[in-house]
């Protein structure tokens, strides 16, 4: 009996911490419509800050706590709302997701840069004290945490129901525009809720640190537990969120206590929050289509098919040329870049064209790689089958969220990534714990491609074919439908489109493309393991795809090279490892609003240069046509253009030049 009691109390303790984190998440989401994926990451950075104040600098605990919760965290929340997330709530969900994923990755980078990996401990509050309940010893830290969660609940209740600004907060949930009309200030409401939200994330992080340790990733992933709890209240109801958090805490505690530590079910304990989330999502009612949203995105111009073909040929020739001279080690990097570029192509389809976000695209590549290695059919048939398996898994992930909207689809991919990381990829039937699998190089029509240079060229061919297929799809009926669905789901629905199955198909196709890339990657490397496809790799992938341009094929190529270079950069300057992530993350925050990214910018340079300097160049170079004809005497007086005295040849020259 006493063990049940002690595990219940342990569950209530973690549940209380989840409740504190989750209520912050709900508060920021409901008031600003921005789902903060980086909520846990903020908690992590604040926990590190608390360690820095209290342990490294030796401040008294109360002072460190006050500084973090009362100054640093709310200040950060205010600044983030003011300069990063403001106005995101009215835009497409994909943009706000990408921006907060940028914060997520950026914050991990910052933490690694400021506090390089080292053992750090944060003692619990009042470490010596506790209570004996029956045979169970309850620490003071646990009691404090549970009490604090009740205090937070009470204060939030008072704030929302008994104060003017709280009423304004509830009003802004319904409609910020009207709040403004009636004299409220939605920006002040938003700043306040972000300040409180980040403080709550900080408090939860600090309370959990003595138990789960000061780790970059574990605290960051707290966001999954928090939103699993919040989902029970449909991201709206605070009381239900508290119920969800406590339930999840107890469930997790019981899983630790009573589930076997050996065998297939051993991985289950780590994924309780993710499973909890799936169950809650499946039970959610059908989402209603929202009307009156922002639409019409300026997309990168679509190249003509012949132009795409010739660019593809150029790329292939370039790869073939460098494949002939490069060392095998460098060729592996080129092949890796091709893999990443193909995975990014799958994001061009899903995110760039379809407007949906996947936070676990590498996981699908991992499924493809795993299938390729396990099938042991190193030929086109095996590769195709691997892609089909990945596609089926992708469709399976999209199925539960069939009736729901983009945010939930993205969140369930995150939960799916955790699930695969901890339960499937590390299991004995897959890669095994810290294990690897062997895969053979692909053979095409009985002809095995053993040389790395040949294999890299084959990968480039696959990339080009995939890109051409994607462009064809975009030009056709399906492409138009995808864009239409992104611009106005409500109109598509009222025109008779059943978007649910379309979305599942889209998600499956995208996962299949990633799976194909994964299969090719397995063949390239020969040895693959779970670490190659970790969830955390998917986030930089998404960010680089968006930064480089997720609406265009060239963006994917550029992004693939960029993502390949990241670890190279990190290993050459290890002290800057965190900084690279920080730059990438905050770069995505800055550029995330324009999904066309750097690729479009690069193509736009020509046009922009012409606009800016074109006239001057044309004036300086006599053969180019002038913007408007000048009077004869004017021309004679112009010393820069002495040859233009005779109008006849000038017109001819202009004709030729145009």
């Amino acid at each position: 009996m006493s063990s049940i009691l002690s595990f219940t109390i342990l569950g209530l303790f973690t549940g209380a911490a989840y409740a504190i984190a989750a209520s912050g998440l709900v508060l920021t989401y409901t008031t600003t419509r921005v789902f903060n994926i980086a909520h846990g990451a903020f908690g992590m950075v604040m926990a590190f800050t608390f360690w820095d104040f209290s342990q490294r600098q030796g401040m008294p605990t109360w002072l460190a706590l006050f500084l973090v919760l009362g100054v640093v965290a709310p200040g950060t929340g205010y600044l983030v709302q003011r300069f990063v997330t403001r106005g995101l709530g009215e835009g497409p969900v994909s943009v706000s997701l990408v921006v907060t994923v940028g914060l997520f990755v950026g914050l991990i980078g910052v933490a690694q840069y400021i506090w390089p990996p080292a053992p750090r401990t944060v003692p619990p509050f009042l470490p010596e004290s506790g209570l004996e309940i029956g045979n169970t010893y309850v620490t003071a830290h646990q009691i404090i945490t549970i009490a604090l969660s009740m205090v937070v609940a009470g204060l939030l209740y008072l704030l929302l129901n008994r104060t003017r600004i709280g009423t304004a907060m509830r009003a802004s949930v319904d409609n910020p525009v009207l709040l403004r009309l009636f004299g409220g200030n939605p920006d002040r409401v938003a700043s306040l809720s972000w300040a409180i939200g980040i403080s709550l994330a900080a408090l939860a992080g600090i309370l959990l640190t003595p138990v789960i340790g000061l780790s970059y990733y574990d605290l960051t992933l707290l966001v999954i537990n928090a939103y699993a709890a919040a989902m029970l209240g449909r991201l709206k109801s605070l009381p239900l969120t508290f119920v969800g958090a406590m339930g999840l805490g107890i469930l997790q505690s019981f899983a630790v206590a009573y589930l076997p530590t050996e065998g297939a079910l051993s991985g289950l304990r780590a994924v309780v929050p993710a499973l909890f989330l799936f169950v809650v999502i499946i039970a959610m009612p059908q989402a209603q289509l929202r009307i009156g949203q922002v639409k019409g995105i300026v997309s990168a111009p679509l190249p003509s098919f012949t132009k795409s073909l010739s660019w593809g040929a150029v790329l292939l020739v370039a790869v073939a040329l460098i494949a002939g001279v490069m060392s095998d080690a460098n060729l592996l990097l080129v092949g890796t870049a091709a893999t990443y570029a193909m995975v990014m192509l799958s994001l061009v389809l899903l995110t760039g064209y379809g407007g949906h976000v996947s936070l676990a695209q590498f996981t699908f590549a991992g499924v493809g790689a795993l299938a390729y290695a396990k099938l042991d059919e190193p030929n086109l048939y095996g590769l195709f089958l691997s892609a089909v398996i990945a596609a089926a898994v992708g469709a399976l992930v999209a199925l539960p969220v069939l009736r729901l909207t983009g945010l939930y689809l993205a969140l369930s991919t995150l939960a799916f990534g955790v699930l695969m990381d901890k339960m499937v990829f590390q299991a004995d039937f897959a890669f095994g714990f810290n294990g690897t699998l062997q895969a053979e190089r692909l053979s095409i029509l009985g002809h095995s491609i053993t040389s790395t240079s040949g294999y890299v060229v084959v990968m480039a061919v696959f990339f080009v074919l995939m890109a051409l297929a994607l462009l064809l799809l975009r030009r056709g009926v399906l492409g138009r439908l995808l864009i239409a669905m992104r611009d106005s789901p409500a109109a598509c629905g009222t025109l008779g489109l059943d978007m649910r199955w379309f979305r599942v198909g889209l998600f499956g196709l995208s996962a299949g493309m990633a799976g194909l890339a994964g299969g090719l990657f397995a063949g390239l490397r020969g040895t693959i393991g779970a670490a190659d496809f970790q969830l955390f790799n998917s986030l930089p992938l998404l960010l680089l795809a968006v930064v480089c341009g997720v609406t265009s094929v060239s963006g994917a190529a550029l992004g693939g090279i960029g993502l390949m270079l990241l670890p190279v950069l990190q290993s050459s300057r290890p002290e800057l490892a965190g900084l690279v992530f920080a730059v990438l993350g905050f770069g995505a925050v800055a550029l995330g609003r324009d999904p066309n990214g750097l690729a479009n910018l690069a193509f736009g340079i020509g046009r922009r240069l012409d606009k800016r300097f074109g006239d001057r160049v044309r004036r300086a170079v006599p053969v180019l046509p002038l913007p408007r004809p000048r009077a004869e005497d004017d021309v004679v007086l112009d010393p820069e253009v002495p040859l233009l005295t005779d109008p006849q040849p000038r017109e001819e020259a202009a004709h030729v030049a145009s």
């Binding site: 009207l178 639409k295 995105i297 138009r480 439908l481 864009i483 109109a491 008779g496």
Partner: protein
């Protein structure tokens, strides 16, 4: 039996009743007007008919069969099409591609291999916006975009057309042409249900009119009868002949919650 029957529909948002036991019909071959002050629940009624909003109570019947439980796209396939008060054009696509998408959806995935059913350029011609065919839909004037939404609806050859303030953004002569177009569409046997603020247009083209106030139908009948109904004059026409008058907050009541708040603001 009327083509569309809205029967005792109630929609509540929290404690506020947006549609209050509303019952009305729309007949095939006729133009029916749905009028009322801002916040009267007109767009909410459209949302209930097209399936974007579940009613708390009541039924919607189409061709005699209850469709209240059908999802949005199934209603469309039965022959219900609608336009939106705040535009829902596919902004990144050209005007022509907007109509193409509608045609492709209507043909269905299986039908994609069949030859095109509706002549896209012919539809643009018909509503009078062929000149804009190649332009991006987020760069065209509001009036044109409303006609584009109508063309998109027609690509599916609907039996019932729900038009939400179709004439706003059109000038006087364009409105006259639009009225003639509506008459021709109705003459083809379609039912047209129209929410409209331009009283001249409503009174001249509608065969029947239903007046909503605070979510309830306060009067139904032909234009002449509605015009002389004292209750209607009190509730609606009596305020002013121009509904866009400054005496009211004229904010597009798009989000449903917005509509409720407006009612509060409007009565105080």
């Amino acid at each position: 039996m009327s083509l569309l029957e809205v029967d005792d529909v109630v929609v509540q948002f929290g404690g506020v009743t947006a549609v209050d036991h509303a019952s009305f019909v729309a007949e095939a071959g006729r133009i029916t007007g749905l009028i009322g002050p801002n916040g009267a629940g007109k767009t909410t009624c459209f949302n209930v008919i097209s399936g974007l909003q579940k009613p708390n109570q009541g039924k919607v019947r189409f061709e005699g069969r209850a469709i209240t439980r059908l999802p949005v796209h199934r209603r469309s396939r039965r022959g219900i099409a609608r336009t939106f008060q705040r535009l829902e054009a596919f902004g990144s696509l050209s005007v022509r591609d907007n109509v193409r998408v509608a045609r492709d959806i209507h043909r269905g995935m299986v039908g994609l291999v069949r030859p095109a059913s509706a002549d896209v350029d012919g539809l643009l011609e018909r509503v009078g916006i062929a000149a804009y065919a190649a332009e991006r839909a987020d760069s065209i004037p509001t009036g044109v975009a409303r006609l584009l939404e109508l063309a998109r609806c027609l690509a599916g050859d609907p039996r019932l057309l729900l038009l939400d303030e179709p004439s706003s953004g059109l000038d006087e002569s364009e409105t006259d042409e639009f009225g003639e177009l509506l008459a021709r569409l109705a003459a083809e046997g379609r039912a047209i249900l129209m929410v409209e603020h331009d009283m001249d247009l409503v009174m001249s083209v509608c065969d029947d009119i239903h007046v909503l106030d605070f979510g309830a139908v306060i009067a139904s009948g032909p234009p002449a009868e509605i015009r002389s109904n004292p209750q209607v004059q009190q509730a609606y026409l009596g305020y002013s002949d121009e509904p866009d008058d400054q005496t009211r907050l004229d904010i597009p009541a798009v989000e449903l919650t917005q509509e409720i708040r407006l009612e509060g603001a409007w009565t105080s």
